[in-house]
Symmetry: C2
Subunit: 372 residues, 2 copies
């Protein structure tokens, strides 16, 4: 049911143009996946996502396991049915949240004991339970339960986490039964080149249909992040999709694609929107700024989304300043659209052999911040 | 530019089927107007309103005058352009808010001094300024600046407020210059029959293109409210639309129509949604209720709106319990749709001479609350 086809590569970078096949349709790569933590991309309805043209979205196992509970989602017919989204969905394993968010966690070789952020109740996640919960949630792509190394971390700690991630990956694979789901492996190892390569070997030896690079964008410098991608790039099998977890700023998408990444996810577009910030072709824009009070032009003059076609900066500023939910919703719509369209343009540039020029032109304008 | 046509009347009640013409299109009456206090029907975009089929919406002069300021809306090209809503809009005069919400208000014959609920700054609204602000906002229908009598009120207080409302109505009419806007008069007088009739005579003598009944649904009993409507009904010119301000519960819409009302407005559908309550054909439903956790049916099995077609009670409950904005948005959409559709059904019943049967059948089911 799951497949990946490499359609073409960039001559000047490691950029790849590909296509993923899932039971809920195909996904052209490279792709950005908006995050629907609690089975909703915050403020947006599935209708909006279809309109924007999202190819695949992500949902969080940690959150859905606690609320409403994976049994409820299962009885609803799975996530697609539950949230009324009929395109591909990916779930993470809960590992990242358990390690970075949950209080009072206790790690053992068996798994992780932790307290719910909602009501403090005690829970346990292991490679086996994270996998079976994701089977119940029913996404098209699911992830191995891993230990995400924080930053900074000692070499010794990073090694331990990486080795455990490898052992847990084997257990995830063993316990995964649903043939209509693809289980991706995750490479850890912090910013240490030898640990990353060792992790890659372990995980690739297990033969997953896709490989994720975890533990980045957690505090390290951009150079460190890009460095890890460069180390891994030539060792990853070209026949499998590569997913850079939790990364999604426009410049990172371009740099990630340049280093062979096919899939990205990030909460940034909707989180920025809730803080009144919008992506534009000329950099980020803070809509609360007083100079937008009587700016009747669109949020981003280069954008063709429904928000930019219908609403002015002055109106959006008014909504945000007035605490109106519609403001958060319209900014979220635009921001998600912005990244989805950026990826569409990247794919087109890859197809036309113009990726390096596109990257240059986009970043020159985006980083100049001339109007904002 | 403004007109009203009486298309037919009910044989058994004072119910009327009519049509209002405005520069932004026609409105079939009786009609429910969703409230967009701050130039947005809370959580909904204009696209949603078009989809729902709202004929006319209301915006609040008090709020828009304070934020973003009527000058900004004027420079945006008026409310229609500012909020991207190309159908008829009505603005109230700010009177109700100034009298009921604003702190530190001081009433003089000239007008009302009050403090902004946003920043405490001092403001002044008079018949003349409320009218010119509404001219700047640019709605199709605007309202006279009136003094809304609270409940309970003494006869003497109600008389004073009613008489001032009459004097202010004359000043509003004198100062109103825009010929593309219809200025409606407002009848006050509390729950006192003679004051209501005296107010009606004063206001109707001024000859407005439409008449509103203000100061109801402010704490009086339903019987008192319906009584006032019955007293006024036969004295109101049948050639002008009649607007019952601030009223919008399903049963009140039916009882109002029965007493000759053509227009209604109320914040209830969106306010209820924000509290997790939905209208259904079988009464109100509190979605947080635990029994909906695994109810995978639609919010209202009798409803054909986008929310009821696509989402389950279990999902909506999950969204509301999780504090997700999408939950408020979907419930708001459904609730506004519910009242808009109810009015459509009322109009159809009036056309077919079946209004009394329809009213009976609807209320029998709605008040039974059998599934909720």
């Amino acid at each position: 049911m799951f497949g990946f086809e490499l359609l073409g590569t960039c001559r000047q970078t490691a950029g790849r143009r590909g296509r993923i096949t899932t039971p809920h349709g195909t996904v052209d790569t490279p792709i950005f996946m908006p995050v629907g933590t609690q089975a909703t991309v915050k403020t947006l309805a599935s209708q909006d996502l279809y309109e924007i043209g999202t190819g695949i979205i992500l949902a969080n196992t940690y959150h859905l396991n606690l609320r409403p509970g994976h049994e409820i989602v299962d009885r609803a017919g799975g996530l697609h049915s539950f949230m009324n989204y009929n395109r591909p969905i990916l779930t993470d394993s809960g590992g990242f949240q358990v390690f970075s968010l949950a209080k009072l966690r206790k790690i053992t070789e068996e798994g992780v004991h932790f307290s719910s952020h909602i009501d403090g109740s005690r829970h346990f996640l292991s490679p086996e339970s994270a996998t079976s919960i994701q089977e119940a949630l029913g996404a098209d792509i699911i992830m191995c339960f891993d230990e995400c190394t924080p930053y900074p971390a000692t070499y010794e700690y990073a090694r331990q986490a990486m080795e455990r991630t490898g052992r847990w990956a084997a257990r995830c694979k063993l316990s995964h039964l649903r043939e209509d789901q693809a289980l991706f492996g995750i490479i850890q190892g912090g910013v240490f080149a030898d640990l990353r390569l060792e992790s890659l070997k372990q995980i690739v030896d297990l033969d997953f249909p896709g490989y994720a690079i975890g533990g980045l964008s957690v505090g390290e410098t951009k150079e460190e992040m890009y460095g890890v991608l460069e180390i891994l790039e030539s060792h990853l099998p070209s026949s499998r999709p590569r997913y850079l977890m939790g990364v999604g700023e426009p410049e990172d998408l371009l740099e990630g694609v340049s280093r062979g990444i096919d899939m990205f996810d990030c909460v940034t577009p909707t989180r920025l929107a809730r803080h009144g910030t919008a992506y534009t072709a000329r950099g980020k824009l803070t809509i609360r700024n007083a100079r937008f009070a009587d700016d009747f032009g669109p949020l981003d003059p280069d954008c063709s989304c429904r928000v930019c076609r219908g609403y002015s900066r002055a109106y959006l500023r008014h909504l945000i300043k007035s605490g109106e939910i519609l403001g958060l919703r319209l900014l979220s719509y635009h921001n998600v659209h912005f990244l989805v369209e950026l990826m569409m343009n990247i794919r087109e540039a890859l197809e036309n052999g113009r990726f390096v020029d596109f990257r240059h032109d986009f970043l020159a304008k985006y980083l100049l911040k001339e109007v904002n």
